[in-house]
């Protein structure tokens, strides 16, 4: 379970301060599929980055399974990102020198999983997202939708309880977007993973179990 307590984030750019997040209190239960919608600049990405332990709050805290992540060392946070959370970016963010298989295996490499086991699991994951015939392709040889599916496979490689997607369908066409949502839905329905997705698209948001709106750094009820 993830919950936040008065989570706030202020960006400072020289003289200017931007309050991207204001006292957010949010609770996400295990196995939930939650969609967060809101206009651009409302703080959705900021919130997800904090939930995914990619960034530190200015004040307040994120609790994962009851642990205050603000009290953890950098190494411990890296471990949480690696083991408990799968993060999917809008821009896919694959390593372009590595092929699909190696990209998917990378988090397992960081976790110290042996080569054989790693590549086997990576291949299974690629088959699962429908890319069994593309495992040796470099990201540049894949379409946007295919790249995003590789990224999903990568996010699953260490079996995380939570998958976080920051506009995962934002850079792909509708058809590919539907395929991506199908996969995420399946992860939630069939495997019981917690899914947190940010989206612009009301239609996509409708597929989630619960929807939260954001405006001006606040989560509305």
């Amino acid at each position: 379970m993830i919950h936040t307590e008065n989570l706030s984030k202020t960006y400072r750019m020289g003289e200017v301060e931007v309050q991207a997040l204001r006292d957010v209190n949010l609770e996400i239960k295990d196995g939930e599929f939650i969609a967060i919608i809101g206009p651009s600049g409302s703080g959705k990405s900021t919130l997800l980055n904090l939930l995914g332990c990619l960034d530190k709050p200015t004040s307040g805290a994120v609790f994962i399974d009851g642990i205050n992540t603000g009290k953890l060392s950098e190494n411990a946070l890296a471990e949480i990102r690696r083991e408990k959370i799968g993060f999917i970016f809008q821009q896919f963010n694959l390593i372009h020198t590595l092929n699909a298989l190696e990209n998917v295996a990378l988090p397992m490499f960081f976790a110290g999983v042996g080569r054989e086991a790693r590549l086997k699991k990576a291949e299974e994951l690629l088959v699962k997202v429908g890319l069994g015939d593309r495992i040796y392709h470099k990201p540049s040889e894949l379409s946007g939708g295919q790249q995003q599916r590789v990224a999903i496979a990568r996010s699953l490689s260490n079996d995380p309880e939570v998958v976080i997607g920051d506009e995962p369908t934002g850079n792909v066409d509708t058809e590919a977007g539907d395929a991506i949502m199908d996969i995420l839905e399946g992860l939630n329905r069939d495997e019981g993973r917690t899914i947190i997705v940010v989206t612009h698209d009301a239609e996509i948001a409708a597929r989630a179990g619960r929807t939260k709106r954001m405006r001006d750094g606040k989560v509305l009820d």
Partner: protein
């Protein structure tokens, strides 16, 4: 580990041109150091080899051996020689008579240094190194024979005397006229060069003949070999005292132990070596800056990638390791290539010196220098990569991912 290499390899290959340029810096630096080491080892070895045979020698000459003192030099007597022989620790003492004399060959007259010596003393004076010239192509097995006690009007001649001094080459059994008397050449000596080049320019006759040519019994120098090189200095002092005593003069005799001079030469040589290495090291420093620059650029360019890797769970340590490894691999390969180029360069330099100055310097390749070269390259590379690699590992994942 293998996968880390793979990752690193991909990154190096991705930026091939720059990696190669960086590597080139290391190659040049290491090659310079390695080549200098090998050449100077070679020099050291040939000097030591040539000199070690002379280390037990004491040269006894009248007057101080300072250059430019052309005044009337004294000479030694048979009694001086006997006294020197009696000093304990002296293994052999050989009297030598030397004078410049007019030598005529086929009507051509040249001044050559004539040395009179007892044939049985020749081995003591020359040791193992001076041999008769091998005369392979003309069919005769060797160039003559050595001087014997009962030879009369016979001489052995140095290599330059035989080949360069006169318009016509002189060979065994040719006849020379020395100071009016006819001498038969019974042997031509092998070319010496280096520290013994004086031998090439001399003509050797028996002491008895020398007495006749020079019309004196005076001994111009005494050549001493000692039993123990460690005692050479003391024995030299004793010889000086003894002969000065005989002649009732102060500072009449100069006895120079070659061993000391050799040590001086060696230490001058090691200073030179350090100096050359210091110069070569500058190129290594330049190479280090190159690596640092490359790694920094690599970090900058890959900021986004580092962010992604951290976002999916890479610990700082792994990022640090990846970048250090990249620097280490580039510089390690550079080190290996540098060693190869260094060995080639050393041989080219050695050949160049040989063709230009006719001085042979062997290239001494030592395994520990090669291993050291690669190690130094890698250490330099890794140290230079440390700052940029730390910088990379400390980046915040969000900031880095946002960076495009």
């Amino acid at each position: 580990m293998k996968d880390t290499f793979l990752l690193v390899y991909r990154n190096i290959r991705e930026r091939k041109t720059r990696s190669i340029l960086t590597m080139l810096g290391i190659v040049v630096g290491i090659a310079a150091v390695v080549a200098i080491m090998f050449i100077s080892y070679g020099m050291q070895e040939s000097i030591t080899e040539q000199l070690s045979e002379m280390a037990d020698i004491i040269m006894v000459t009248p007057g101080s051996v300072e250059l430019g003192s052309f005044g009337e030099l004294g000479s030694f007597t048979e009694r001086d020689l006997k006294d020197v022989e009696r000093i304990s620790g002296v293994k052999e003492a050989a009297a030598m008579m030397g004078e410049m004399q007019e030598v005529e060959y086929r009507g051509e007259k040249v001044m050559v240094e004539i040395v009179g010596i007892e044939p049985r003393d020749m081995d003591a004076v020359f040791g193992e190194t001076v041999k008769l010239e091998e005369d392979g192509d003309s069919g005769t097995s060797a160039s003559g024979r050595e001087l014997r006690e009962n030879d009369r009007k016979a001489c052995q001649i140095g290599y330059s005397v035989a080949n360069d001094y006169f318009d016509y080459e002189i060979g065994v059994n040719d006849r020379l006229t020395i100071n009016g008397s006819k001498f038969r050449v019974i042997g031509v000596l092998e070319e010496q060069g280096g520290f013994r080049s004086n031998v090439d320019a001399q003509i050797y006759v028996t002491k008895r003949d020398a007495v006749n040519i020079f019309d004196t019994r005076d001994i111009s120098s005494i050549f001493v070999r000692v039993r123990d090189i460690g005692e050479a200095e003391e024995i030299a002092d004793e010889i000086e005292d003894q002969i000065d005593d005989n002649h009732k003069l102060d500072d009449f005799t100069s006895a120079m132990a070659m061993g000391g001079a050799i040590e001086d030469l060696k230490s001058i040589f090691s200073v030179l070596q350090v100096f050359l290495l210091a110069i070569a090291s500058i190129s290594l420093i330049v190479a280090a800056l190159g690596i640092m620059n490359t790694t920094l650029m690599s970090v900058m360019e890959r900021t986004h990638e580092i962010g992604v890797m951290k976002a999916i769970g890479a610990k700082n340590r792994i990022i640090l390791f990846l970048f250090l490894m990249e620097a280490g691999v580039v510089s390690g390969i550079g080190g290996v290539l540098g060693c190869i180029v260094g060995v080639i360069a050393a041989n080219v330099i050695s050949f160049g010196i040989y063709t230009a100055f006719d001085v042979e310097i062997a290239v001494v390749v030592k395994l520990q220098v090669l291993l050291g070269g690669v190690a130094v390259a890698m250490i330099v590379g890794i140290l230079s990569g440390l700052y940029p690699a730390r910088k990379a590992s400390k980046m915040s994942p969000v900031e880095a991912v946002r960076y495009e």
